[in-house]
Assembly symmetry: C2
Homo-oligomer: 354 residues x 2
């Protein structure tokens, strides 16, 4: 399919590179493609960024049939534009689509659409250290119908947002509240899909944790409230007695692309990573025995977010004296180095847009 | 607050009363009210039904921060317009809002908004037997922002849809597939809220059950896959050895208004109802002992939906020879009688619009 391009005649003023924040400014264009039952995905187009006209009965607003992705484009010091493993995002789109009964999208075409849009808005990619262009592909169900069933029409949309450096003032480990009351997702549910429901279910716990002075929550499994699942919107890793451990993917955890990259990177460096169930009791016991060396989250926004403190049922423990540890540092430096083009990409993870 | 009214200058043609279906036609007007942090809910207005203009980054499309309700307006044989317990819907709006971190709405004002809108579109209320005007209040998060946090702006919208008789050809008991794989909701999650996530999580199981010839699924609890929760989009009741039993509300089940009315009605008739946990094993054991007399779902759309068959792990059982039973019949006739104005409303459940 050919992607038609209609350029804006009214370009917006670009925001200050030093005050971008996250996800609050959007570029001049967006990509849209429609799906109609019987016709498939059709009419891929890049058009000026503008409000969507949605019928008030539009299914996404009532039944949450929608999925999304998040990735970034980086401008290297040589002026090249790189994407980080975009095919993995498009593969996850289809995994999410299958769970939400949304029709699949060709992975290569999805990557092509991302690249074409980034090219059109290339002037929006910031180049201050740590900044990037956040890319948000998403799909929404659009039937104007209130019966509960999968929609027969969808829109696949990509929008772009220049975002600031996550760690403007250096990497500061975060304080995490271990959530024993609310549940994000459970086996048999939607946890492994990148879908709106999992974020809706996280809001209340997040607000309560923030009120108590914590950055994010650590989710436990919904069945026994025992096994560690993920941190806020990130996957989580621990170094215990020299071993790197991350919760295994058992249906309720998002299979993060930074998680996958962290595992591959550590394995290639000769550092084994164990994917298995790990309970919160085990974490606290390891700390008590002086064996909890590091804890960190992985995700697209921060890449690596070291954890300096956990609070579980009002028992607080401090990890690595509240400082970032050597494993988290190494992973952070390597992945951001590859993304920014400053380090050689021995994994073939990046794709050049320009 | 005063509700401003702007009438359409271009009224739509009304659909054929004999071919309304459910939720596919919408009236000429809708109600909208905005929320802005610091300003509260403001600008309530009735305007011509029209597409919503939503920024592509609008939070509801990405993080599912949204809730909804469903109720009906009925035209009586005397030409009166009745609502059925609308204050219960507005109370549930606030319960859902609390879970989804959405600001509350004054219950009386919400009921007033529903009534005003129904009055404006009163000519759209069908009067053929069994037809009604379906009312869909809903709230969506509207911040144009991709960070994961509660929105600072919302829209409360009410739309109306004339709907056909649910049982055009008499009440036929449905076939239900007992779902052992997928989970709708779990304790600590969103199950008790009327929010988009619970419907998104139901779609795949529903599609698979339909493919196998079943009308809906029966959800089991997400922890042990043992206790009965609800049927598709309805609550569920059983008559076992003369006792009426319905699953108790323990956080993962929607507190249905038809469920509540059924319990109150039966109690007033001297038929006790037990709200307790009931396992699927107990249901099958009761059937094996010849003691499962009736099973039926309760919900706004059908009011009562008798269940004629269950399939659990490929073991099928037939309830009451696949026919509607006396308890389901009595509840159906009483509630629909009160709704249609044909029976005296001894409970004070109805509110007159006109």
């Amino acid at each position: 399919m050919n992607i038609s391009i209609t350029k804006t005649t009214n370009p917006k003023q670009k925001p200050d590179q030093n005050d971008l924040g996250f996800g609050q400014y959007f570029t001049d264009h967006m990509f849209i493609m429609d799906y109609t039952e019987g016709k498939g995905w059709h009419d891929p187009r890049i058009v000026p960024y503008a409000p969507l006209e949605l019928d008030p009965s539009c299914m996404v607003l009532h039944y949450g049939q929608a999925i999304f992705e998040g990735l970034k484009a980086y401008k290297t010091s040589k002026g090249e534009i790189l994407l980080f493993r975009p095919e993995k995002n498009m593969e996850r789109v289809n995994s999410s689509n299958d769970r939400l009964v949304i029709p699949r999208i060709d992975v290569d075409f999805g990557v092509k659409a991302i690249k074409e849009l980034v090219k059109v808005d290339v002037d929006w990619i910031p180049d201050a250290p740590g900044t990037s262009l956040y890319i948000r592909p998403f799909i929404i169900a659009t039937d104007p119908y209130l019966g509960v069933r999968p929609s027969n029409t969808y829109k696949f949309i990509i929008i772009l947002s220049p975002v600031g450096a996550y760690y403007k003032e250096g990497i500061n480990p975060v304080k995490i509240y271990v959530e024993s009351n609310y549940v994000r997702a459970v086996k048999g549910g939607l946890g492994y899909a990148k879908t709106v429901a999992n974020y809706a279910s996280s809001l209340k716990a997040q607000v309560e944790a923030k009120h108590s002075g914590y950055t994010q929550v650590l989710w436990l499994d919904g069945i026994e409230k025992k096994y560690i699942e993920e941190v806020g919107t990130m996957n989580v890793f621990f170094k215990i007695d020299g071993e790197i451990i991350t919760p295994s993917l058992e249906g309720s955890i998002l299979p993060g692309i930074t998680r996958m990259s962290t595992i591959e990177l550590l394995k290639k460096s000769g550092i084994p990573v164990t994917e298995r169930r790990i309970s919160i009791e085990e974490l606290y016991a390891a700390h008590a025995a002086g064996k909890l060396d590091e804890a960190f989250g992985t995700g697209t926004a921060a890449v690596i977010s070291p954890i300096g403190e956990f609070n579980w049922n009002e028992n607080s423990i401090t990890v690595n004296e509240g400082k970032i540890g050597p494993v988290a540092s190494k992973v952070y430096e390597t992945i951001t180095g590859i993304q920014s083009g400053d380090m050689e990409d021995a994994f073939g993870w990046t794709q050049k847009v320009l």
